[in-house]
């Protein structure tokens, strides 16, 4: 048994070394990058969009927020963030205008001009991902959809972020932490790069406790999803890995404990769809 070059861990239901796991996961996302969004829509029947919207509402960022979106690959969270702060900013500006109704036309015009060039209110999002292919797809999407302001793309590893301490207001990781090989390191890094008062938010597949629902969910996951992967993306194995990795990931309470271990306070979670997905939140104080 003992020729493994390092600690043993799982890749889905297989047992592999840490290094092998990183490589295999890199390959999975390299293969699926181009069809990632299509597959997400097919597998979740579009519901993943609602989950991500809920995450954004929970975050409720105000203009001026600096967000780090880790494993943000194709940009879903980043784009939602930019839309959100833009609309909050617009409402802010409208309210300001209403209060300035006693000013002269010239003064109103001047203040409007000044704010026009700051439609995001200095908000910024940095998308960090370990996989070049996913970032590539994300950048193309951004160009296609017209997102450029307040958006940066960085190649980086969640276990060892290329950022300084105490930099960000919010850290998000949506459907990414499951693929990290050393979750504890990723959580520690999250803590490090957040400013004091900063918030950690994690959106991830979790465990369904209701037994009937759990059976149906398993049936769907194992029977339908790999088939969808084969038919849509021509890749059975990557999606087989996906459903297995969900089963291997720590359940809600265990993840909560791990987040607390990294130093976060007021750690809490919210189940979506009976625990198919959960949002974990914590604060650096």
């Amino acid at each position: 048994r003992g020729l493994a070059a390092g600690p043993e861990m799982h890749f889905g239901f297989q047992t592999v070394t840490e290094e092998e796991r990183r490589e295999k996961i890199y390959q999975v996302f390299e293969n699926v990058a181009k069809k990632y969004d299509v597959m997400n829509d097919s597998m979740t029947l579009g519901i993943h969009r609602v989950w991500k919207d809920i995450l954004m509402h929970k975050m409720n960022p105000c203009p001026g927020t600096l967000l780090l979106d880790v494993a943000g690959g194709t940009g879903d969270i980043a784009f939602r963030f930019l839309n959100y702060v833009r609309s909050v900013r617009q409402r802010q500006l409208q309210r300001k205008l209403k209060h300035h109704q006693n000013l002269s036309w010239q003064e109103i015009f001047d203040s409007y001009q000044k704010d026009q060039f700051n439609s995001l209110g200095d908000s910024q999002v940095v998308v960090c991902d370990i996989n070049r292919e996913m970032l590539k797809v994300g950048k193309q999407k951004a160009q296609h959809l017209g997102y450029s302001e307040g958006l940066s793309w960085v190649l980086g590893n969640a276990e060892e972020l290329p950022f300084d301490d105490d930099k960000f207001d919010v850290y998000t990781i949506a459907f990414g932490i499951r693929n990290v090989t050393r979750i504890d390191l990723a959580l520690q890094e999250a803590y490090r790069v957040l400013k004091p008062g900063g918030r950690f938010l994690c959106l991830e597949f979790s465990h369904v406790s209701n037994p009937l629902l759990s059976r149906l969910y398993d049936l769907y996951s194992f029977q339908v999803i790999p088939v969808l992967g084969e038919v849509i993306a021509g890749d059975w194995r990557s999606y087989q890995y996906l459903v297995e990795s969900i089963r291997q990931f720590p359940p809600q309470e265990e993840l909560k404990a791990m987040i607390e271990d990294a130093g976060f306070f007021k750690v809490d979670y919210e189940n979506l769809n009976f625990g198919i997905v959960a949002i974990h939140s914590g604060f650096k104080l």
Partner: protein, 242 residues
């Protein structure tokens, strides 16, 4: 925690290396096969460039036809030898130089000409994934490799029209549901002029040849490169193309 077994009925505990009968094999439950068959059929029609979907359709629907084909091969001396020796038509095993040097009209020369004219290669065939029997997996692989030779023997190009004609021939010969579906639905994407030619001349000829010919999988093509195409047609019972 170790994952729960969620695949209806299967006993696997480890994923890879479990019940894997041949490299590339992915065992599937009956439900998965049914979903794959339906999904691949729809996708193949929607995007004709998804050759992998046609392949998957063939594998998931071939459970009756493939054993039939295998038995036909077993009961024929040349077919039996093929099952034993498991030859593969691949660029690495073909001596392209030698084949090109053969006289015009010979199987080898015409096959190479076909590959060049249509810019195809024998190496682009999908290996089988969803066939749950190692010997049957070889049978379907052989069928795929022989497909290009069918084009050569029938004198059909690789455009949509030519492919449909070959599918009609193969449907009669093999009984594979995928060929039947391809033959029936392929013409959907053809112009009416081509449909006419198809219906009046090509398909009747393909059917007659298919019925008359002995099983094309029972021919050890790799040992017959020098044989003239016409002689091979006569031997098999394929009528001259219109």
């Amino acid at each position: 925690p170790r994952g729960r077994d969620g695949r209806g009925g299967e006993e696997e505990e480890e994923m890879e290396g479990w019940h894997q009968l041949y490299p590339g094999h992915i065992p599937t439950s009956p439900l998965q096969k049914a979903l794959l068959a339906a999904g691949s059929a729809v996708m193949a029609l929607y995007d004709p460039y998804r050759h992998d979907m046609v392949a998957v359709l063939g594998e998931t629907t071939g459970c009756l036809a493939l054993p039939n084909l295998r038995d036909k091969m077993k009961n024929h001396p040349e077919g039996y030898r093929i099952l034993q020796e498991r030859p593969c038509i691949r660029l690495s095993t073909l001596d392209m130089g030698r084949l090109q040097g053969l006289p015009d009209g010979s199987l080898g020369r015409e096959y190479v000409r076909f590959l060049e004219d249509n810019k195809v290669s024998p190496d682009t065939r999908m290996p089988p994934k969803f066939v749950d029997d190692e010997e049957l997996a070889y049978v379907i692989q052989r069928y795929r490799e022989v497909h290009d030779l069918m084009h050569t023997l029938l004198g059909m190009p690789t455009n949509m029209l030519g492919e449909v004609v070959v599918k009609w021939f193969e449907a009669i010969q093999t009984g594979l549901p995928m060929c039947v579906l391809g033959a029936a639905f392929g013409p959907v994407r053809l112009s009416s002029r081509k449909l006419q030619v198809l219906a009046t001349e090509l398909v009747p000829w393909a059917i007659r040849s298919g019925l008359n010919a002995s099983c094309v999988l029972n021919v050890f093509y790799e040992q017959r490169w020098e044989q003239p195409v016409e002689s091979l047609r006569e031997e098999l019972g394929i009528f001259p193309p219109p």
